[in-house]
Symmetry: C2
Subunit: 337 residues, 2 copies
């Protein structure tokens, strides 16, 4: 089934079931008022949501037209957003540009950071920043929402806890990150509010593209209407979602509704760094990667970070070309207090 959270003026929005083709929705708030409420009691509520989704497919329940811009992020606020960095190609490139090697441990010990989860931005609302010189960048990712995960869970338990899959735009302020990371406490200012796709789907909706741990489809990233990234999320993912989840649960339990991100999707090209889409490559899922490759190749980054007015669109289509999650589409806007 496919679920969305419709904006209704409340902090958590209203739960809706969306048709497979994303054209229609039916109110699901009589089953659970919000997506978090459904996740809090998933075993009891999910079967009813699934039955409602089936009825919607058959037009057997009242429905209305689904507009992606009326959707909030599926969880408008969450109790946890922990974002991995599972595509080591990207990590390695960034370090290479800085002239430092990859520690060997990175191959076996995933990177993950604790993100802010109290104020996500709806997928069709602007990225707001006070200052363009902060180096505003998008990061296109796949994310999963999990059920309760016990402390010390192994990968099998982690896999069994995956309830929903969606897309993420993990906005990053590249200009603020180096000084922040140098302080040693991780990201804070460098990671403003993220956004998630209009629709979150249960893994069974993904068919063979979902292997239980990775999503094998290209992540479509367009910048100002032009192809920027077409990296396949199933390729070069060095840690799959169960590995990321188990890693996150090593010293504490994860509560239902925890969102785990893949990190910026990134594909190698014949073992080497990628190429822009326009040059026949898979492109990039963030501007920083393109800049790193430019720096490595020419000594200087030439692609600028986002300007006010720029627009990024992140989407994924099934093998028949149909949008699975709806699109994140965000313009960059100057924030005036």
């Amino acid at each position: 089934m496919k679920l969305a959270t419709l904006k209704n003026g409340t902090r958590d929005g209203k739960l809706a079931v969306v048709s497979r083709d994303l054209t229609r929705f039916t109110d699901a708030s009589f089953l659970a008022p919000t997506l978090q409420a459904a996740l809090d009691d998933w075993h009891r509520i999910a079967p009813h949501l699934a039955a409602l989704a089936e009825s919607l497919e058959h037009d057997a329940v009242p429905f209305a037209r689904f507009h992606e811009h009326e959707a909030h992020s599926p969880l408008p606020r969450a109790y946890q957003w922990a974002d991995g960095s599972a595509y080591l190609n990207y990590v390695e490139l960034v370090r290479k540009a800085r002239g430092v090697d990859m520690p060997e441990s990175f191959a076996s010990n995933p990177l993950i950071y604790q993100g802010g989860s109290d104020s996500f931005v709806p997928p069709r609302e602007p990225i707001r920043a006070a200052d363009e010189t902060w180096g505003i960048d998008f990061e296109a990712e796949v994310a999963v929402v999990v059920d309760d995960v016990a402390m010390g869970a192994d990968c099998d338990e982690a896999r069994a806890a995956i309830r929903l899959v969606m897309l993420a735009n993990d906005v990053s302020l590249r200009g603020l990150i180096p000084a922040e990371l140098a302080k040693g406490f991780g990201f804070f200012h460098g990671k403003p509010s993220s956004s998630f796709s209009p629709v979150a789907v249960t893994p069974d909706e993904l068919g063979e593209a979902w292997d239980g741990g990775k999503l094998h489809l290209p992540l479509i990233v367009d910048l100002n209407g032009k192809p920027f990234g077409r990296a396949n999320a199933g390729i070069d993912m060095d840690f799959d979602f169960p590995a990321l989840i188990a890693h996150a649960a090593r010293t504490r339990p994860l509560a239902a509704g925890t969102i785990i991100g893949s990190g910026t999707v990134s594909n190698r090209l014949d073992g080497g760094p990628g190429k822009p889409v326009g040059q026949g490559g898979a492109g990039y899922s963030c501007i920083a990667e393109q800049r790193v490759i430019e720096t490595l190749e020419t000594g200087k980054a030439k692609t600028p970070f986002l300007h006010f007015g720029d627009k990024v669109r992140i989407e994924m289509k099934d093998t028949d070309g149909r949008s699975i999650f709806g699109a994140i589409e965000q313009a960059v806007e100057k924030y005036e207090k």
Copy 2:
């Protein structure tokens, strides 16, 4: 007023108003089912809670005996837990022990990290860890809960957004932190679930001890029944809460219910490092600080981190010797999956 969340088998517990002397409570769930619900709509609900608190003081409403061990952390799960490190004495000591200077920026730019907030531990339940060699430590802190804070809020706006004050035990796994911080993404495994005091109070309950930004009272930390720390939370706090909140809100808004921590309370002694309580000093609010001072003075840390069975108690009393928030009291227990 004083608020608590009573355990009732649900994820968020049930909101209660507690009497000033912590002996009685009255159910407040007819006003707002949970503390988060009250914070979501504070301007409307707080006056009713205050009226109920006043009635409770006069025994004008039904009440029952308040038992601290029946309380959950005031927010059993929260949308954000951002923990500062506002007592630079501690930061400086840790760095000195590592042989590195304090960057000048630390004096003007607060340290803060994004903590996990999905699964707090009740204040009278054990700290569970799978492995004693992880270097289990407590960190006794003061924390505030804020209302919505706009992106870019200044210190005055931040101060006006403080709704509740409480105590925190920010459990740390010292053995896991160095390798984790070396990865550059901040804390994750090193910071398992935190706990908060049984009771959260509005700032007006603190009288002159609260100056709008700092809480000027000793933080009482006992380890296995013996005095370990008596540091005054109002002394040597280099960034007050409004400064920490404004810092946290620099690039994104903070949602109502966000918890901001002070970091480990730490007092200098005559400009130098502190002394144990037994030697006439203010002692320490975590074991790591005592170990750092031992290392600086003798070349070797001798106080061990927590063993299974150890018990830490964190409390604060008003000038008349009455407990303000109730006590966090946690034994360390081996976690068996």
